[in-house]
């Protein structure tokens, strides 16, 4: 299998904007229910405790969450008006600039029009490892 490694520059949380620079919902026909099937299938593929969220990248907000809320500090089933910052605060401070760099990279892949066929085949995985202790 072909593998490629890219080195990205860490991105400071002060300069990161969770809102997509070019996103517009004007032509968006996809509804939240689009993810319903996927969410109900998540449990089949769990290798450990997990939670999910749907990110609204036009607003930079989290519009829906589910699963094991206690995995992210400060979240609960009752959490409302969750922002991307609330998620970022749970990411290890040393990992955050790398996570943000990955987010920017993913967005650039999307916006650089790689084509819908390639886009639906792409899988972006960002791993966060909790520091021991």
């Amino acid at each position: 299998m072909q593998q490629k490694t890219a080195l990205l520059k860490p991105v400071d949380s002060q300069t990161f904007d969770p809102r997509s620079a070019t996103g517009s919902k004007k032509n968006c026909s996809v509804q939240i229910s689009h993810y319903k099937d996927y969410i109900s299938s998540l449990a089949n593929f769990a290798t450990g405790k997990n939670f999910w969220y749907i990110a609204d990248m036009a607003k930079g907000a989290i519009i829906k969450t589910g699963g094991n809320y206690e995995m992210a500090k400060g979240f609960s089933a009752e959490s409302e008006n969750v922002t991307a910052d609330d998620i970022f605060r749970c990411v290890h401070p040393e990992d955050l600039p790398f996570m943000l760099a990955c987010s920017n990279y993913v967005e650039s892949v999307f916006t650089n029009a790689i084509g819908i066929k390639k886009l639906i085949k792409a899988r972006f995985v960002r791993s966060v490892f909790k520091q021991p202790g």
Binding site: M1, Y38, S41, N44, F45, G48, K49, R123, S127
Partner: protein
């Protein structure tokens, strides 16, 4: 999250039977039909190159397969269905095979002890090296999804989702994790490599039933007097058994004797 580590004994290939002995009492609908909705979602959750197969654990064969066939040496779209399970085992790294058999055997036994609800809650994942068509061993994770069991819990069919994880795992050991979604707990399973060496290269000496009784009590810290009282025999007899055990297991002390017995899986 709660986490537990268990060490299992490796199972040598000639002691592993991919037929788990389950019986089909009523005609099941096609396993492929049963698993199709899950298979349809596989690519959505894939983190890398992957394939899936449905294992028939009654006949010990691979019923159906799909995805990246070249991940398994010798498999192709044309020859993948109804293949003997041994063909897949041959592609596993020889060092990982006895460990994978140990995990498979443990899993089959575990299902039989649990209710249907609990079985569905278990999410086992096995991590091992698999030989691909380029004759390279790559780390893969095998997720075992919702096994179909008979009324006694014996697995009949299972869907395995195998993902190439060589981009995130390049070393380490073959192991299994079982996430129990009903309790949010995760158990990790490893095999004692030392034990493998002992079972394959150094046949263990025969130990009498009474010798084993003494060995077990020594391992939990009993002294000769306590063992004698527990077994209803003389202290001198206990000491004789201890001397025989030290000599048979070529151990220099009781502590070493117990350590050897644990590594060998005797206790």
């Amino acid at each position: 999250m709660q986490s537990k580590i268990t060490i299992l004994k490796p199972v040598l290939p000639d002691l592993f039977d991919p037929k788990f002995g389950g019986s089909i009492t009523e005609s099941p609908s096609s396993p492929l039909k049963y698993y199709q909705p899950v298979i349809d979602h596989l690519t959505t959750f894939a983190i890398n190159k992957n394939f899936w197969y449905i294992a028939d654990m009654v006949e010990g064969v691979i019923l159906n397969m799909g995805g990246a066939y070249d991940m398994v040496h010798g498999f192709s779209a044309e020859n993948s269905n109804a293949r003997n399970a041994d063909d897949l085992f041959k592609a596993l790294h020889p060092d990982d095979l006895p460990l994978m058999f140990a995990y498979g055997k443990y899993l089959a036994g575990l299902y039989q002890q649990q209710s249907y609800r609990k079985r569905i809650a278990f999410k086992p994942t096995l991590y091992a090296r698999l030989l691909n068509d380029n004759m390279q061993y790559n780390w893969v994770m095998m997720q075992m999804i919702n096994p179909i069991t008979d009324t006694n819990g014996v697995p009949l069919f299972g869907l395995a989702f195998v993902t190439d994880i060589s981009h995130i795992k390049t070393d380490g050991v073959c192991f299994m994790s079982i996430y129990d979604s009903s309790t949010n707990s995760c158990s990790h399973f490893f095999c004692d490599k030392q034990h493998k060496v002992l079972t394959t290269l150094q046949p263990l000496p025969k130990i009498t039933k009474r010798g084993m009784d003494v060995l077990r009590l020594l391992s939990v810290g009993y002294n000769s007097k306590q063992i004698a009282a527990e077994l209803g025999i003389a202290i001198k007899t206990v000491d004789n058994h201890r001397q025989h055990l030290l000599s048979k297991m070529t151990a220099g002390s009781t502590a070493e004797l117990v350590a050897i017995a644990v590594k060998a899986g005797l206790i």
